[in-house]
């Protein structure tokens, strides 16, 4: 960018675009874009499933889901890679981000807990109830 003063609206637009799409920003944000785009699609399904809310409420929910995906995806991909070295993180980040965005975690966790309890019941002889 030159050091000339911004004289017109086109110059201002170019200045804004140069700021948003600067190489420095691309270097930082670029590697996360696959995760963010995949999480965006997953989170969209989740927004469609939940009860209708205000527009800002929906946008805030969407941001939280995508943020969660950005925070967890890299760690989960690394964990998966530790167990299955043939699954490289660069291949698995997109499906993991999509799943994190898509899944209803409250329902999924309650199902996991239910399976865990039924397994414990089976192991304990299936008598159930307090003894």
């Amino acid at each position: 960018m030159s050091n000339q003063p911004i004289a017109d609206i086109v110059g201002l637009a170019i200045f804004i675009a140069a700021f948003i799409f600067s190489p420095a920003a691309a270097q930082v944000v670029g590697p996360y874009m696959v995760i963010v785009v995949a999480a965006t699609i997953g989170a969209s399904f989740k927004v469609a499933r939940r009860e209708k809310s205000s527009r800002w409420g929906a946008f805030w929910f969407f941001l939280r889901v995508v943020g969660l995906a950005v925070l967890l995806t890299a760690a989960l991909a690394a964990l998966l890679n530790a167990y299955r070295p043939d699954l490289e993180p660069r291949v698995t980040v997109a499906p993991i981000a999509l799943l994190i965005g898509f899944l209803d975690w409250r329902v999924a966790l309650s199902k996991v807990v239910a399976v865990l309890f039924s397994t414990l019941d089976r192991v304990g002889g299936g008598k159930g109830g307090a003894s």
Binding site: I14, I16, I20, S44, F45, A48, R55, A58
Partner: protein, 104 residues
Amino acid sequence: MGQDSDKLLFALLNFAICAPIFSIALCRLNSMGGAVIYRVRSEYAFYVGAAFASAFQPLWDEWPRWGSLAMAGALLIGLLCSGHAWRKDKPPTTATEPAPLGDQ
């Protein structure tokens, strides 16, 4: 104007077209409330993802040109034209699942 300025202007114009696509699709997803058929949900979910990816494509060094602008513009016009069907944030009956027989 230089080539870099052209690139940046196209990118900003593309961003300005993709932002309303993103917000219209997200608003329609929000209005669905779980009662809309899966293919319609998928349609709007992929609109959101595609609009986001297209708007920020310069961040992975892909710069939009006329073709991208034409596609994004056509999609935005399509969404605006179907606006009457989604008036007052209510999904159209063609997008919803049929009610259970007991409710009819």
